[in-house]
Each structure stands twice: as structure tokens, then as C-alpha cells.
């Protein structure tokens, strides 16, 4: 009798120790480093592999549980570009990064090399409202009280107006936070040069995503405006030779940029003349 009670006690202890051990593991396990772009998809044909953003609320995480032959955890999401449409609850395990859901056509597309002919077009739809070669808009203009130099030409235009690809190439980095609430997109041209389109809005252009090829003149983003009152809506246009690799933003020189940064003024002037018959 005594033996049996001691056995019962030890089996219960075993259960609780095991449960404690499993929970501890989940707390102390290393955070996995995932690969891909930070964009989620509901990985199920039932949801048409829709792109979604997990909703977070100020009064706590948005998790619910329902019982369907076992516990099912639900998470609140908004479908991308759904504006003020209400959010919906989806099973938590269906919400994954796009790179973890190959069925959703998230794998890099093959680059259409035939389309990658070196030919270029001015990235703004209309002439800029001010010269991009003078004042604070010019490449090399003073920044940071003289500690830095401007790494781009600023093309002043109208907020939300389309920005087009200067040439054929491939998107090598999709939208990320750039400066004061605006975003940047990085693109490799067919001639190996790299362009960073900065200060664009977060709006996704049709058929533009990571590793997709784009054609000359294709819309790749939209003109943004920074949060402060410093300046007009603009495209911040950076150009790199492309003979180096690594992050475009780097310390170590007056531009705080990768060493193969080049002045895009002449490149843009030629394109402006081609498109509008005149230039600043």
C-alpha cells in the first residue's frame, strides 16, 4: 500500500517535472534566425494564401483559443492593403513568413534576362519642381552641421505620385524603414549598378516584390514625405557602381554610405533631357 502511494507520488512528480522542463526549454531556447522578407502570409488555400499583417493592440496580445477536436489558437490579422476593413481571426499556425510558404508563390522568380537590356528612363513622371543639383537637394550638400554630405539627388515632386524604375533589373531589397516614416527599395540594374529609391511610401506597387525582375519605366513605388516639416515630398535617389557588396549605409566616410556610391547628377540630367527635352 505504501509502495503504491509512493509510486503514484513519483509518477505525478514525473509529469510535473517533465511539464516544467518542456516549459523551461521554450523560455530559454535560442531565438531562431529566420530567412526571408518580413512579410506574412496565411498559408492555406482556404485563405487564398493572402498576405496579412498581425494586429497588435495596446491592451495586450491578440490571441484567442477555440476548441475543435483539440485546442486551436487564433491570432488577429488584417489583410494587406485592406485599409479600414475589419480584421479577422486565423489559426496561429497558418500565419507564417512568405518564405516559409512556397505554395504562395513566394519563391524568387527567375530573372527574365531578355528584358534586362541597358536602357534608362527618368524616375519621376514629371519634371521635378526644383533642381536636384542645387541647394540641399544636390549630391554632396552639407548635412549634420557639416559632419556628413548628402548621398543622393532629391527629386521634389508630389506625394503619392508614382516612381518608375530607371532601367530593367531586379528588386534586391523590398521596402524597409528608411528615414522619418518613409521607406526605401533597393534594385540592381542589368548593368550591375545598384539604385536605392529612398523616401518612398510603404505602398506596394503591383508586381514588385523581393527578387522579382522589373522593366524600365515600371512603377516600383510612390513619392513619400518625411514626418518633419523639413522638406517637400521627394524621391531620394542614390546610385552605386555595384562593384562592391554589403550594406549601402555604412560608417567610415563623409556620406555614411558604401564606398562605390556615385554622384547621380549627370545620369539624371541625361535622362531628364531624354524624357522632357530640357533639364535643370
Amino acid at each position: 500500500m505504501q509502495q503504491s502511494s509512493s509510486y503514484k507520488w513519483s509518477s505525478q512528480s514525473f509529469v510535473f517535472i517533465t511539464a516544467f522542463f518542456i516549459c523551461s526549454l521554450s523560455v530559454y531556447a535560442d531565438v531562431p534566425r529566420l530567412r526571408g522578407y518580413l512579410e506574412y502570409v496565411i498559408c492555406s488555400p482556404e485563405y487564398a494564401y493572402a498576405k496579412a499583417i498581425p494586429v497588435q493592440r495596446f491592451d495586450g496580445p491578440t490571441v484567442q483559443m477555440k476548441w475543435e477536436q483539440g485546442p486551436v489558437f487564433l491570432t488577429e490579422v488584417k489583410l494587406k492593403e485592406s485599409g479600414d476593413q475589419p480584421s479577422l481571426w486565423v489559426p496561429q499556425d497558418l500565419l507564417v513568413l512568405g518564405s516559409q510558404c512556397p505554395e504562395a508563390d513566394w519563391m524568387p522568380s527567375a530573372v527574365d534576362t531578355a528584358a534586362l537590356q541597358p536602357a534608362y528612363v527618368f524616375p519621376a513622371l514629371q519634371r521635378t519642381t526644383a533642381s536636384y543639383k542645387t541647394g540641399q537637394r544636390a549630391f554632396g550638400a552639407r548635412r549634420g552641421g557639416g559632419t556628413r554630405s548628402h548621398a543622393a539627388c532629391d527629386l521634389y515632386r508630389v506625394k503619392d505620385e508614382a516612381v518608375v524604375s530607371v532601367g530593367a533589373g531586379k528588386i534586391i531589397r523590398d521596402r524597409y524603414f528608411f528615414y522619418e516614416g518613409t521607406y526605401a527599395i533597393e534594385m540592381k540594374l542589368a548593368d550591375k549598378r545598384v539604385v536605392r529609391y529612398g523616401e518612398v511610401t510603404g505602398r506596394k506597387a503591383a508586381n514588385v516584390s523581393l527578387n522579382k525582375s522589373v522593366k524600365k519605366g515600371q512603377i516600383i513605388g510612390y513619392i513619400g514625405k518625411v514626418s518633419s516639416n523639413c522638406c517637400e515630398p521627394m524621391l531620394h535617389f542614390e546610385l552605386y557602381k555595384g562593384n562592391l557588396s554589403g550594406s549601402l549605409t555604412q560608417s567610415g566616410n563623409k556620406f555614411s554610405r558604401r564606398a562605390d556610391l556615385i554622384d547621380p547628377s549627370k545620369f539624371l540630367t541625361d535622362l531628364e533631357k531624354d524624357k522632357f527635352g530640357t533639364s535643370y
Partner: protein, 194 residues
Amino acid sequence: MYMRKILSIAFLTLAALAWFRAESQNRPEPGATLESLQVLLGLFAESSKNSGNLQTLIARLESLNYEPVVVTDQNSDTGSLTFVRTNRPPLGTRYFHAQYFEEHRPQHLSVEFQSGSNALELVAGEISRVFPAASLVEESNHFRKWRLDDDYLIWIKRLQAEDLPTVQESPFNAYGAEDIGAIQITLEESIGHD
């Protein structure tokens, strides 16, 4: 026989723990919001100093039980960009977001603080306390910007109705009309027009 009993007890224990976790996540703890702001601004301060590398940030978020999510986007031309988000933001805050081009220094850190009658002033006061050397360089009704040093700026913005169409295009965060008044807090590398 005993094994079946043990397994069913283990299953029930784990299910109960999972249930309790989900329920506790949905239970607000009043009065914790200022503390959340202070913890996050402290993290911003640590991260923008030399000691604040990516691994340290992840470890700190993990120790705070914020459930960090780390995603690295890499290509052979422009290197890697690592995003850090959290699945479990502290009360009164949301949408923590960090970007690292290089492991030893963040390019961008941001979070949002809940709206309130004096939320902008509250956040501004905490920034002045956490970053005593910061110099205010721009101020308006809904926006403030400080220079921290040669490398970093911090700015805050109260979300206005006219901002909604723009923020609703965000690739990372979801917004609705109920978010007007929320305070965006961003510490980022000084690479812009300043």
C-alpha cells in the same frame, strides 16, 4: 496502463498551461503602461550605444518575455538586413520594430505608445529623462525631434487622421481609425536631411 495515465495527465497539464498563457496574455494590467515605455526607451538607449549589438537586443527582449521574432533578408549585393519584432509587446505599446544592417549597430528602432490626453508630452518627458544629452531640434503640435549625437536622432509623432492613408500602406503594421492619437517613437540613424 500507467503510461496512458501519465500521458493523459501530461497532455492535460500542457493544455491547461497553454490555456492559462493565452488567457493571461489577454488580461490587461492597469498602470503598467508608463513602465512599459520606460523599459523600451531604456532598450533604445542601450541599443544606440556601442555596447548595443543585435544579439544583446534579442537576449534582452527574450529576458523580458516579449517573444522576439528575428528575420534576416540577405542578398549578395547589398548584404543582410535583420528585422526584429516582438509577438508580445508590453502593455500600452505595440509594433516594436528594429532594423540592423550591421550586427553592432541598429539603423532603426521604433515602437508605438497608446494615445492619451497628454501622451505626447508624457513620451517627450521620458525621452528627456532617458536621453539627458539629447537636444531638441524640431517641435510642433504633433511632432518632436531630438539629436542624440552625430549618429542618431529620435522623433515622436502623434498620429493624425490625415496620416491614416499613409500609415495604412505600411508593409509591417496594421492601422485603423481607432489608432488616431497613438504616438510613434522612432530612434534612427541620422542619414537624412538634418
